[in-house]
């Protein structure tokens, strides 16, 4: 290990990690919003929109993120849509994540039995009250494990952003390997950087899941 190398290039990694987290954050927030809309559309069986959502989910789930990004970044400009690498990252992650989030939310919504909806209605609750007090609290706790897995999955997928020339962690590591041949140091820092990002989130979710499981019993 060449410690002076590590010291010299740590700021680059920090900068790249911040970028990764930033784009990951916005992408995941958008993915959650998109997933929520899609899940509600499917849950309430909204005509037409339901079919569109179904097609979107299949397309998004059955293609790799890197191909989606290439299409956004290299393909779409030829059709007149110019996107910055950052925008591509956020949009790509939201497009990919939306379908995964939708499925986790939908499985939560559908886990609430019909009998509960009927009981709530017969008690005189309005439709939004049924959602607010009966469905959403239960659905949310059922959705948490899948949701957590999706967040971590999407954070890991951010590593693909280097392919659309974002200066993210992968790109920094690759550049350093190419420039200086300090492969061991560059890769170790890469691993550490990802651990710092992903490990705490993974631990928090594990604790959360455990508490929810206890609450469910």
């Amino acid at each position: 290990m060449d410690w002076s190398f590590i010291e010299k290039y740590t700021p680059m990694y920090v900068e790249a990690a911040v970028l990764t987290v930033k784009i990951g954050f916005f992408g995941i927030v958008l993915a959650v919003a998109l997933g929520l809309i899609c899940a509600l559309v499917k849950y309430f069986r909204v005509p037409v929109a339901r079919q569109i959502v179904a097609v979107y989910i299949e397309i998004s789930r059955n293609t790799p993120l890197i191909v989606q990004l290439f299409f956004l970044y290299f393909g779409l400009p030829k059709a007149g849509v110019l996107l910055s690498p950052e925008a591509c990252g956020v949009i790509g992650l939201a497009f990919l994540g939306g379908s995964y989030m939708a499925e986790s939310f939908l499985s939560g919504l559908e886990s609430v039995g019909k009998i509960q909806l009927e009981s709530a209605e017969s008690l005189g609750l309005k439709r939004w009250q049924v959602m607010r007090y009966i469905v959403i609290p239960q659905a949310a706790s059922v959705s948490v494990p899948a949701f957590a897995a999706n967040v971590i999955f999407l954070l890991k997928e951010t590593s693909v952003f280097s392919a659309v020339s974002l200066m993210d962690l992968m790109n920094v590591a690759k550049d350093l390997i190419g420039m200086s041949y300090n492969t061991n140091e560059a890769l170790t820092m890469l691993v550490v950087a990802y651990l710092i990002i992903i490990l705490p989130i993974s631990v928090v979710f594990t604790i959360l899941e455990r508490r929810l499981r206890r609450a469910g019993n």
Binding site: N62, P77, S159, T183, L187, V191
Partner: protein, 223 residues
């Protein structure tokens, strides 16, 4: 639709399909290796020895916590540097996909066996089956039925992950696409749109039927 001809002039489509075959071949090799090794990992996770189980758990978690692309870099750049062994891009890709796939298959195998209720074992034994018969006729068929949809699902994930190998210089469908775009830069400036749309569609055509099959098998089992 201007410029879509670029896909069909010369042998462009054939080259793309050739590239796709590289992707598919790498996936198939990795999936096969992952299943074989994953069954071992799964079996090790079911033994009574706590240390063996803990080692397997650590292996699975370590693989899971890092993005696959990071593993690809570690194998392609890191291992070469440390050991002096030079992997080709394709070998590195298969190693990465297999290490990752085997861990996932191992976990699936474990959960498939653990989901079989204890009374199945007990009733089997009380009917006078010996261990071999118990596993052949009672346990394996049930475990397999639970396992197959998940394995198909994992296969689609592995096929999608194979797209990453273009980043370490393997000439697969994305790289071939790029070559076609570069070669036709002046005659067909819109090539990128159509080539990447075509590759998008190719992945979809491969993965979508597998997803459908996996879902159908899961549903069938639920009934």
């Amino acid at each position: 639709m201007q410029g879509i001809e670029v896909l069909f002039i010369g042998n462009n489509m054939l080259r793309l399909l050739d590239g796709l075959w590289v992707t598919v071949r790498l996936s198939l090799i990795s999936i096969a290796l992952s299943v074989v090794l994953g069954i071992f990992v799964g079996a090790l996770m079911l033994v009574k020895n706590r240390i063996v189980r803990a080692i397997c758990r650590v292996y699975i978690e370590i693989v899971r916590i890092m993005p696959q692309l990071v593993w690809l870099y570690i194998i392609f750049f890191g291992v070469t540097k440390l050991t002096g062994i030079n992997f080709s891009g394709e070998t590195a890709a298969v190693i990465m996909l297999t290490i990752w796939g085997a861990s996932e298959v191992g976990d699936l195998v474990r959960s498939a066996f653990q989901s079989i209720p204890a009374h199945q074992f007990e009733s089997g034994l009380s009917l006078g089956l010996n261990r071999a018969q118990l596993y052949t006729y009672v346990i394996f068929p049930q475990a397999l039925r639970g396992l197959v949809p998940h394995l198909i699902n994992l296969s689609t994930r592995m096929i999608k992950t194979t797209a990453l190998v273009s980043l370490i210089g393997v000439i697969e469908v994305l790289k071939v696409g790029k070559q076609i775009i570069d070669a036709n830069r002046f005659e067909y400036p819109n090539a990128a749109l159509w080539v990447y749309a075509a590759i998008f569609l190719m992945y979809f055509i491969i993965c979508f039927p597998l997803s459908l099959l996996s879902r159908k098998l899961t549903k069938k089992r639920g009934e």
